[in-house]
Structure formats: C-alpha cells, structure tokens
Amino acid sequence: MRHALKIFMAEALKQHRVIFGSRTTLFAMVLWPLMQLATSYYTVRPLTDTPGIAERWPLAAEPERLLAFLATGALAYAFFFSVLESSWWFSYERATGTLEGLFLTPANRLVLVLANGAGAMVQNTWLFTCMASALITATGTVHVTHPLMYAVVLLALVIPATAFGALINSILIFARDASMMFNLIEEPLWFATGVRLPLFALPSWLRACGTVLPLTGSLIVMRGALDGATIGALLPELALLGGLSAAFVALAAIVLRAGEKRAQRTGELRLS
C-alpha cells in the first residue's frame, strides 16, 4: 500500500510539474468546459421552446432544469475527459524515452496507470467541479435526500473514471498513433453516454453501446442523486458501475502485460 501511495504521489507531482503547473492549464480546466457547456445549451435551447415539449421531455420545459442537466453532463464528462487526456499525454513518454525508464523501475505497472489517471483527474477537475457545482446549485434544481449523497455522486465519478483511465492508458501507451485513438474515443465518449442529450433521444443500438461506457452509469447516478433518488433506488446502477470498473481494471492489467511482453520482444517501448 505504501508502495502504491508513493507511485500515486510521484505521478501527481510529475504531472503538476509538466502539465498543471502552467498558467495556460486554466484554459483547459475552466474555459473549455464552460464554452462547451454554453454551446450545448444554445444548441438544444431552440428545440425546447416548442409546443409539446412537456410531454416529450418534461425537464427541458424549464430552462434552469435543462441547464442543470447539461451542467451535470459537462461536469461528469470533465472527469472522464481528463483521464483520456492524461493517457494521451502519457503516450508521449514513449517518444521522449521516459516510459522505458518507468518500466525499468520496480513500480507496479497497473498502479502506475491508475496513478496517472487519478493524478490528472484531481488536478484537472477541481476548479471546474467548484464552478459547475455552484452553477448547478444556483439553478435551484438540486434536491438530495441526504448530504451523504454528494459523496456517493463523487465516488460514482472518481472510481469509474479512474478505472476507465487505467484501461485507456494501457492501450494508448502501446499504440503507434495515440492521437488518432484519443480522437476516436473522445467523440463517442460524450455522444453515446447522455452528456448532452437524454438517453431516450439516442437510437437503441447506440444506447446499448453506451452502457459499456462507465460515464453512462456515472451520469445516471449523478443526475438521479441530485434529483432526490435514494441510495436504494440507485443500487442497481451503482452495482453495475462497480462491476464495470472492476472489469476495466482487470482488462487494463491484461493489456499492460500483453503490451509489455510485445514491447520487450520488438524493442518498441521507446519510439524515436
């Protein structure tokens, strides 16, 4: 445990020095999610002021509730996007040569990728979490059954996002074209999970694809908890999220082992 903690601290410190220590990171932390949120809101808004909206999507009949829906989507997406982005940054370590060095150390590879995602997530999302929470609260639409439900919401974001990050990290660090894979995952991640549209608006095949992405479950728990659902009502979704997270971590371990073996054979742990 001490060993793992040291890796977590080292990864977080490395990322702070390399990425998050810069002032320009503020753009990525606040400005981009806010601009994306505004774009989503004004894209959907012209469709909600239409006759019959209360029957089609009752929530959208009130602008405050629509804003809260999109803001929760933007906040949850920020958690998952940060781990996806950190995986992309991590893949550059293969080109700079430090990944090879990392793999020569006795650090556990799985802990390394978990630490990379978690370190980036905390440093990347804390500011937007504060701003989005203030915005969602200001809409006056939050009704939690117990203050502890906020902790449930946070855990339903942090644990699946970390597990998702571990799997993506383990794929991207061995990929030849990590930028391409980053882009291929980025769009479906928001599109199929209900970040900007309610799930009922998606075709059934896309909804089915979305269920394997943990962001879908995180959003269901988050929106449900903030709308007054009890822990009992959210239990099936929480169990599914737990199962998905465990499966993602197990898959990450398998991919890491296979990737390292292949890299040892081909000498491709360093791209230069």
Binding site: A28, T50, A201
Partner: protein, 263 residues
C-alpha cells in the same frame, strides 16, 4: 515552386506517418455534431424549432441550418489546426531552421499548407454533406454566387487567423491551449450551430463583432436566402484582411524569436 514543395511535403509526410489521422478525427467530430442536432431535433423538438430560432436565423429549416454550420465548422477547424500548428511542429521536429535558411517565401509556403488542408477539408465536407442530405437537409443554395462569396470570406478569415495562430504558437511555444481555446471560442461565438442572436447581451455583441460571424451570415444568405448584411460583410472582409496581413507581418519576428529560444 515553394507552394508545390510545401503541398507535396505535407502530403507525403502525413500519408507515410499517420494516414488515418488525416481525416477521421475531424470527420467524426463533424458527424457527431450533425447527429446530435438531428437526434435532438427529432426526439426533443419533435421536428419543430422555436419561433425565436426562426426569427433570429431567418429560416425554420433547422437541419439545413445545422448542416451548413457544421460543414463550415469542420472546414474552420481543419484549416486552423493545419496552418496554426505547422511552424511549431516543424520547430519540434528540428526542421524550422533549415526551412528558414532555404530561399522559399513564407507566403508561398503557407499557401501550400493551406491548399493541402483545404483539399483535405473538401473531402471531409463532402462526407458531411452526403450525411446531411441523407438525414433530410436541403443544401441547394438560394444564391450560389452569394454562397461562394460567403465561403471565400470564411476561408479568408480562417487563413488570417491561422497565420496569427502560427505567430502565437511560435512565440509562446504553446500549441494545445492556443489552438483549442481559439477553436472552442469560435465554435461558441460564430453562429455555426445556433444563431448568435440567442446569446445573452454582451456575449452577443462580442459574437457579432467577430468577422467569422459576419462571414457565416453571408454564407447563410447565399444558402438559405436570408437577408444579406452588406455592411457586416464588408467589415468582415476588411478585418479578415487586416488579421492576415498582421499575421504575415509578425511571422518573421515570431520565427526569429522561436529560433533564438531554441539555442
């Protein structure tokens, strides 16, 4: 000759190194945006748009409005990414110094890069147009000449902005923050997916001041037959030209600064 060399080198290096990275990400981004609007229009709007949208956009044809905007957005992102990142990419690869010593002109080199990006974008936009037509959008221009003029205005602004981004990325050494902030801001403020008239007061004023918004208005006037903002079209032309000239004037200094910093 410089133009052809820049075009050919970009084509060869991109095709050999990362062939899939060429078009797939931007095409997926555009297709996702188009699909989001289509699904929202069907499931949330029930095939209708608000009266305010019709008043602000000048058309009730939501799908065509979004399709034109998405195509223009994809074109904008492609060109900005390509032109804006090229010099800093060259610097990272160690080729900037050699290229500056070579006698080729800057404008011809940038034009070669732009031509390659525009060609690539043409393929992406064609893909999007086919998808939009399949979804039921009507993309026959009401006034083809005016639509072409709108496209030229959009391209002029994007070229100028791309050159200015070159300077900023070379001077600061930062690519990621500059390019993404520019793209997100233009995406939110230029009326690609929704009319800027829907934005709140001060933000709307800022959006209307942007030359790209005016260029989009001209493009929409040509595509949907909405009223043509003559004054704003002229100001878009003038400001876009000024941005391009300022970028070209600043580029030698930015390149010098980048070279000095690397030693």
């Amino acid at each position: 000759m410089t133009f052809t060399a820049a075009f050919r080198r970009t084509w060869l290096s991109t095709r050999r190194a990362y062939p899939l990275t060429l078009s797939a990400p931007i095409l997926i981004m555009g297709a996702a945006g188009l699909a989001l609007s289509y699904l929202a229009y069907r499931a949330i709007g029930g095939g209708q748009v608000s009266a305010e949208f019709v008043r602000r956009a000048g058309t009730g044809d939501y799908l065509s409005f979004v399709a034109v905007g998405t195509a223009a957005y994809v074109f904008t992102v492609r060109l900005l990414l390509w032109i804006g990142r090229a010099p800093v990419q060259e610097q990272r690869e160690g080729a900037l110094g050699a290229r500056l010593i070579a006698p080729g002109g800057r404008l011809a080199h940038l034009a070669g890069l732009t031509a390659f990006a525009a060609l690539l974008s043409l393929i992406e936009v064609t893909g999007l147009v086919v998808a939009a037509l399949a979804l039921g959008a009507s993309l026959a221009p009401a006034d083809p000449l005016l639509a072409a003029a709108g496209m030229v205005l959009v391209a002029l602004f994007v070229f100028g902005m791309g050159v200015l981004m070159c300077c900023m990325t070379l001077v600061t050494g930062d690519l990621y923050a500059i390019q993404n902030t520019t793209i997100y801001a233009l995406g939110a403020l230029s009326g690609f997916i929704f009319p800027v008239g829907l934005l709140p007061g001060p933000v709307r004023a800022l959006a209307e001041w942007l030359p790209l918004t005016a260029a989009m208005d001209v493009l929409r006037a040509g595509m949907h037959g909405t009223s043509l903002p003559y004054g704003r079209a002229l100001s878009s032309l003038a400001v876009s030209l000024a941005i391009a000239l300022a970028g070209l004037a600043l580029l030698p200094r930015a390149q010098r600064r980048a070279m000095e910093r690397s030693y």
